[in-house]
C-alpha cells in the first residue's frame, strides 16, 4: 500500500500550507508504522522540499518528525556501525564512509535543524528575521556539503555498512563540539553550524 500512497504524497505540487500540513500528518502517521528502511529512503527525502520557502512553524514540525525518525533509525544504525567497526572500519579507520550520500546529508541537516529551532526558541526577539538564518543555512550548506563530495569515493553497494555508520548517534552528538571532529559528516555539520552561528551573530549586530 505504501507503494501507492508515498508516490501520491510525493507528487503534491501545491505549496499551500494547509495541504502541506495535512500531508505532514499523513507522513507522521505512516512514519509510526513503517520500517526504518522506507523511512530513510522515501519519507525523509520527500520532507526536505517542504522546508524550503515556508514558515518556521513547518520546520519545527519537521524537526520533531526528524527526532522521532532518529529514535527509530538510531538503534539500527548502532547495530550496523558495530558490525562495520568489526569488519571494515577496523582495517581502515580513516575511511570516511559515504558521507556524500543523500541520507547522510539529511541526517546532518536534521541535527542542524534541531539546533536551529532550539536556538530560535531562545531568541524570540529576532521576530521576522527568524526565517532568514535558515535560508542562509541552506545556501551556505550547499557548497560545504557538495564540494567534498567529489573527493570522496562513490557510494557503492559494498559501502552499505559505512552508509549507516554515518548515522551513528555519537557522531551526531559530536557535531556540537568541533574539537571532536573526526569524521567528514560531523565536520560538515560543524561547518554548517559555525556558518549559521556566524550569520546569527552578524544578523544581531
Amino acid at each position: 500500500m505504501t507503494d501507492k500512497l508515498i508516490p501520491l504524497l510525493k507528487n503534491i505540487k501545491t505549496k499551500e500550507p494547509s495541504v502541506i500540513l495535512a500531508a505532514l500528518a499523513v507522513y507522521a502517521e505512516m512514519g509510526k508504522r513503517l520500517g526504518h528502511e522506507v523511512l530513510a529512503s522515501d519519507i525523509l527525502p520527500a520532507l526536505w522540499p517542504m522546508t524550503v520557502g515556508v514558515l518556521l512553524n513547518l520546520e519545527q514540525v519537521l524537526a520533531c518528525l526528524g527526532e522521532r525518525c532518529s529514535h527509530k533509525v538510531q538503534p539500527v544504525t548502532r547495530r550496523y556501525s558495530r558490525t562495520g567497526d568489526q569488519s571494515n572500519t577496523a582495517t581502515n579507520p580513516e575511511t570516511p564512509g559515504c558521507c556524500a550520500c543523500r541520507r547522510c546529508i539529511d541526517r546532518s541537516l536534521i541535527s542542524v535543524t534541531r539546533q536551529r529551532v532550539s536556538w530560535s526558541h531562545g531568541r524570540n526577539d529576532l521576530g521576522l528575521r527568524k526565517s532568514c538564518p535558515w535560508q542562509e543555512t541552506r545556501h551556505k550548506s550547499a557548497p560545504i556539503v557538495v564540494s567534498p563530495a567529489h573527493s570522496l569515493p562513490k557510494p557503492t553497494a559494498s559501502t552499505r555498512l559505512h552508509k549507516f555508520d554515518a548515522f551513528n548517534p555519537n557522531r551526531l552528538d559530536e557535531s556540537n563540539e568541533p574539537n571532536h571532529v573526526s569524521n567528514t559528516a560531523t565536520s560538515f555539520a560543524g561547518l554548517v553550524l559555525s556558518a549559521t552561528s556566524a550569520y546569527a551573530v552578524h544578523s544581531l549586530l
Binding site: 501520491l8 501545491t14 495535512a22 499523513v26 502517521e29
Partner: protein, 87 residues
C-alpha cells in the same frame, strides 16, 4: 457503500462529505475492501481534484486509512526485527 462511491464521483460538496464519512467508515470495513475499493477511489479524487478543501479532505481521509492499510506491516516488521537480531 455504493452510495459513498457514487458521491466520490459527484460534485465538490458531495465529495467532501463522502470523504469525511469514508474516513470514519473505514474503521468498520475489512482490509481488502479498503485496499481494493475505497483507497483507489479516494486516490483518484486526490489526483484529479483542483479544489483546496477537497485536497485537504482527501489527505485527512488518507490519515484515517493508513492504520487500516497497515495490516500487513506488523508481521513484516516483526520478521525484520528477528532477522536483524540474529545477526
Amino acid at each position: 457503500m455504493p452510495l459513498v462511491y457514487n458521491a466520490l464521483g459527484a460534485g465538490t460538496f458531495l465529495q467532501e462529505k463522502a470523504l469525511k464519512i469514508s474516513g470514519e467508515l473505514a474503521e468498520h470495513l475489512d482490509f481488502n475492501t479498503v485496499k481494493s475499493a475505497l483507497f483507489p477511489k479516494v486516490a483518484n479524487v486526490f489526483t484529479h481534484t483542483t479544489t483546496l478543501g477537497t485536497k485537504v479532505a482527501t489527505l485527512e481521509c488518507f490519515l484515517q486509512l493508513v492504520p487500516k492499510l497497515d495490516n500487513v506491516f506488523p508481521l513484516f516488521v516483526m520478521m525484520l526485527k528477528v532477522v536483524y537480531h540474529d545477526r
